[in-house]
Symmetry: C2
Subunit: 302 residues, 2 copies
């Protein structure tokens, strides 16, 4: 399989990233971040979540953020909708895509959302139906497709099972996520292959955490299967809830560097992206998690 | 090309790593580090350098370190010998292998050692001859095989040229080093292929810096060409002299995790290796650069 000539990156920093940062971030800063990402060439941005502010106070400003963005044509703005109530709130802000989610691990599903995998997907069925009827695209985030903090390794069969359930309720495309970053290339390839039993290649994206430093080798392994959509987080926003001080989402800058170095087009201006990462890292008062940004910003400074 | 079933790791932390750390490290700590590495299963360790203490004060204790190690049968202890004087000093300590070096970049060679590539290799010829005559193995470290801080990208032809010169003076095996960590998988594969014009696969090792986070994807790309020897540094010792605060040598822990995750044997006990990295990081009073060590040490601590 030849490498894709073009890869599409979905920056999940504003939602998945900032949701896992302890520090509150004002809506205006989030809007600025989204606008810097689109100016840098990102064509898909996961913006916010419509979940109870009781559970996720970081996303309580969802309407303000979605309505504050100066939207660009050709950019897809996606939002997380955990239930019908979330969907009803989200639709007021006209997202291009909603994101529903499920885990490939039963233990994770139980601990995280207190129901089985099958039950969690059933609950999403009316959300997906409503979104599709309204002409809004639907993506499914599949977590723990390689490993689970409670169960350990996850068999590819479990990933195929989850992908089949997602397909069954009408989810149009899915993310194969290594939520705790324990995956290595061959395991990630098996999770993707399991997903491909239910989804076409162009409808599968890779979402790799860099907790064990493996995200880019897993990206390379996914590219070798022809996967051409990846999720990542500018400046590596988000951290890892399962290992204090460890890296979570792979930094978008690092993925872009890999792809451009291989001659794969992303449409992204790396310098502008690094600037966007500096903007939000400075706001959070911490160093970027991107090794590329760290190296570029300190080049010849040693 | 199927993946190798077994990979040999050469830990360069005690030499290449500690040489680039600012803090002085007593011989006894270096000896303890080497012994912890061999206890963890490392079968090749780059121990020290026989260079003028005027230039590299960190390695002034070379005799004390080499003579202080409780050597294990089956472990190869290598040392850097920049010239005949270095070789004469080294041979007193009975190393198993000496390391000579050269750059694939003319500009780097000029700036670093003040002579052309060809001249630098000529100067090593008597060192190599003396080592081989004494029954000591010879490895050649080829730096800047992908990029150079002064010249930018390095053409594979330049790598082939350097490898040919190394072969010409009798160097038995060579390292393909991405000294500033700018490489990505296809460029690294081209550098390795250029080397393979002069060396057999089993005599080539990959030495990738993680400055831009690319070391493990480059390792995967090298494995896919059949390369089965890699250099790395426990705890990522060494930093990067070309980008302040950036990562240099890829951490051995991270490479081991990748390989074991792919079912490739290394003979290394990852937990014991992480402990060795903690030992030296604690001594240096800084955090490990290994993402695997960081994640394992903080697992479930978030």
């Amino acid at each position: 399989m030849p490498y894709p000539t073009r890869v599409n990156l979905i920056d999940v920093g504003p939602r998945d990233g900032l949701q896992n940062e302890k520090q509150p971030v004002p809506a205006q800063v989030k809007i600025e971040l989204v606008q810097r990402l689109q100016a840098a060439g990102l064509r898909e941005i996961e913006v916010t979540s419509y979940v109870s502010p009781k559970w996720v106070p970081q996303m309580a400003d969802n309407h303000a953020v979605m309505q504050g963005i100066a939207r660009q044509p050709g950019v897809r703005y996606s939002v997380l909708t955990p239930n019908l109530k979330g969907w009803e709130a989200a639709v007021q802000d006209a997202p291009d895509e909603i994101v529903v989610f499920g885990a490939a691990s039963e233990a994770f599903s139980q601990k995280n959302i207190n129901c089985s995998i099958a039950e969690s997907i059933e609950r999403f069925a009316p959300v997906v139906e409503a979104a599709l009827a309204a002409g809004v695209a639907v993506r499914g985030a599949m977590s723990c497709t390689v490993g689970c903090p409670y169960e350990g390794e996850i068999a590819p069969e479990r990933v195929a099972y989850l992908a089949g359930l997602m397909r069954g309720i009408g989810v149009q495309r899915v993310d194969v996520a290594d939520t705790i970053g324990v995956g290595t290339p061959l395991k990630v390839q098996r999770a993707i292959e399991a997903t491909l039993r239910h989804y076409a290649l162009e409808d599968v994206s890779g979402h790799f955490h860099d907790t064990y430093g493996q995200a880019l080798s897993n990206t390379l392994a996914a590219l070798q299967l022809g996967v051409a959509n990846f999720q990542s987080s500018v400046a590596g926003l988000g951290g890892c809830p399962y290992a204090k001080g460890a890296t979570g989402n792979v930094a978008t800058e690092d993925v872009v560097y890999l792809l451009h170095g291989m001659g794969i087009d992303t449409g992204i201006d790396l310098d502008a992206l690094v600037d966007a990462g500096v903007f939000i890292s400075d706001f959070l008062g911490r160093k970027t998690q991107s090794r590329v940004a760290t190296a570029l910003l300190n080049r010849h400074a040693g």
